[in-house]
């Protein structure tokens, strides 16, 4: 357990080293936040209460999306590129010799990365947004805590998906195509384009039931107080359920893949 905490702290420190890149990222998130916020204002001007959100909730949703974009790696670009490279080159064989669990090792590292990005890339755009627009920020500390738990679960779901993407390299030998398909799905089904409550009919139902909704839609709704009392447990159960299921699948795929590596003598 201590080992994994050290791994997580190490990844946190690693990303904290890139100060210019973080500042540049904050700038980009803020610029995109402004552009999207104005389009949402135009949309909610026409249709107040669209998708069950009022104007300030819709605007909060925009800035939450910018704050969580890197935290939940909705466009990819986390640990998976490294793991893909290690699998492609065969270095992963060395990792498998180590007396640590491969999946937990990468999960710990990704949690450390996510924690840094939440602080480094999340807070400043959110502040900028709340200065320029009237946002619906939760007043009770309990909601903030509940939101952070939901973000944590979202990060695990995101990790579990990207772990599967990386493992596909064992069969495909090139992870680029899968990684791209994965971030396309992440962009579309997380609610990054538009809140999933605006998706029409069956598409909306399906989108809300898929794991990607754990990455933005659910945490944002927790933030906006859409899950009062026991309903919060339901939201957590949805996220945790997907997290566990995907982690288990990842574990199974990993054991099949590692046997394959042994067979190949890699």
């Amino acid at each position: 357990m201590r080992l994994y905490a050290v791994v997580a702290a190490g990844q946190f420190r690693r990303f904290a080293t890139y100060r210019t890149a973080t500042a540049a990222g904050v700038f980009t998130n803020t610029v995109f936040g402004f552009i999207l916020a104005y389009t949402y204002v135009a949309l909610w001007d026409e249709r107040p209460q669209l998708g069950g959100y009022d104007m300030s909730q819709a605007l909060s949703y925009v800035w939450l999306g910018q704050a969580l974009l890197m935290t939940c790696s909705m466009m990819g670009g986390g640990f998976e590129n490294e793991l893909i490279e290690r699998i492609r080159t065969g270095d992963v064989a060395v990792d498998l010799y180590r007396p640590v669990d491969l999946q937990l090792w990468w999960l710990a590292g990704d949690l450390g990365r996510a924690a840094f990005h939440l602080l480094g890339r999340g807070i400043v755009p959110m502040l900028a947004g709340s200065l320029a627009f009237d946002l619906a920020l939760p007043s009770s500390p309990g909601v903030w805590v509940a939101f952070l738990v939901s973000v944590g679960l979202g990060v695990v779901v995101s990790f579990a998906i990207r772990y599967l993407v990386a493992l596909s390299t064992f069969w495909l030998m090139d992870g680029a195509g899968m990684a791209q398909m994965s971030w396309l799905a992440g962009m579309f089904f997380s609610g990054m384009l538009l809140p999933l409550t605006l998706f029409p009919g069956v598409l909306g139902d399906v989108a809300r039931a898929l794991p990607w909704s754990s990455m933005l839609q659910v945490p944002a709704d927790v933030f906006l107080g859409k899950y009062p009392g026991w309903e919060l447990v339901g939201a957590y159960a949805f996220q945790a359920g997907w997290a566990l299921a995907l982690l288990l699948v990842g574990r199974m795929v990993q054991s099949v893949a590692t046997r394959r590596v042994v067979v190949q003598g890699g």
Partner: protein, 301 residues
């Protein structure tokens, strides 16, 4: 033998515009041949990358489709918006599609030709830029053609398709002037975005891992222009008209084609300025690039 001419070329690039001012005819000749040489080098390097990507055709097809789909999502989200409203900022879907199509195609062209420029910061950091300096080819052409990715054509195709839809769905009274403005918008717009790519790369000589700042102006600018100016705050519109003149990519000329009012009460003739603005954008971008390259000190690793 190529090495000797190479040394001369690199010295010329490092000297900048002042280096040859003593002898005018020669200077003009040298500048022109350097440009031709740059374009030729760009073509050769791009062809090399093209051949190498075509070695994995399935992967290329997936990436090109992904590129197409990723940009198409922008338009899907606009379509989803219009499933709830008839107008956005006072504009109908076909009108927004025209703005989107022009911005998307112009940006796609610039991205296809110069999209690799954002890797300059990484090259400065890991020291591989040094390799490009000792080759007898203009550095700008090498950086621009580096990892030339034909899959970026997906973005152009998507923009052209939306533009096609807009032209079919819109009821425009075409005049010869309006017809001529279509290609003018696309080419000038691509040039404006191209200047942004070069200026962004020049900025990365100074701030080495700040490629995201460049993205805010290029990708962010493209996203901004996909919506009508009436959506945005006046100060923002002022900023992209007078400071970073993105408004000339599509807003001002396309609003003329649509017969719409201009933002900020600008006069009608500004719709015909995009080619001039494009040239004006390239002046500071080119100067920035030259001074960045001149100030460049290798990491020494």
């Amino acid at each position: 033998m190529a090495d000797t001419t190479g040394a001369v070329e690199v010295a010329g690039a490092a000297d900048g515009p002042g280096g040859r001012s003593a002898d005018w005819p020669d200077a003009v000749f040298a500048e022109r041949s350097r440009f031709v040489e740059g374009v030729r080098a760009y073509g050769l390097i791009a062809m090399m990358w093209l051949r190498s990507t075509m070695a994995y055709r399935a992967s290329f097809a997936m990436m090109a489709f992904g590129n197409f789909a990723a940009t198409a999502f922008d338009f899907v989200s606009i379509l989803l918006m219009f499933s709830h409203v008839d107008r956005l900022g006072g504009y109908t879907l076909p009108e927004i599609a025209l703005l989107y199509g022009v911005a998307g195609t112009a940006f796609g062209l610039a991205d296809l030709l110069l999209g690799s420029m954002d890797r300059l910061g990484a090259r400065v950091r890991d020291g591989t830029l040094d390799t490009l300096l000792v080759r007898p080819v203009p550095v700008l052409a090498q950086v621009a053609a580096d990892q030339f990715a034909l899959r970026r054509l997906g973005r152009v195709i998507q923009g052209v398709l939306v533009l096609g839809y807009a032209l079919v769905a819109l009821d425009i009274e075409w005049t010869p002037l309006k017809v001529a403005m279509m290609p003018m918008m696309l080419l000038s717009g691509a040039a404006v975005f191209g200047a942004l790519f070069v200026a962004g790369a020049a900025f990365q000589f100074v701030a080495q891992d700040a490629s995201q700042v460049q993205n805010a102006f290029t990708y962010g600018g493209n996203t901004l222009l996909q919506y009508p100016p009436s959506v945005f705050a006046k100060d923002l519109v002022r900023g992209v008209t007078f400071v970073v003149p993105l408004a000339f990519v599509n807003w001002l000329p396309a609003l003329y084609v649509l017969g719409r009012d201009y933002p900020l009460d600008l006069p009608v003739w500004v719709a015909f300025l995009p080619p001039v603005v494009a040239v004006l954008c390239w002046l500071p971008a080119g100067l920035g690039w030259r001074s960045g390259l001149r100030a460049y000190r290798s990491t020494g690793s």
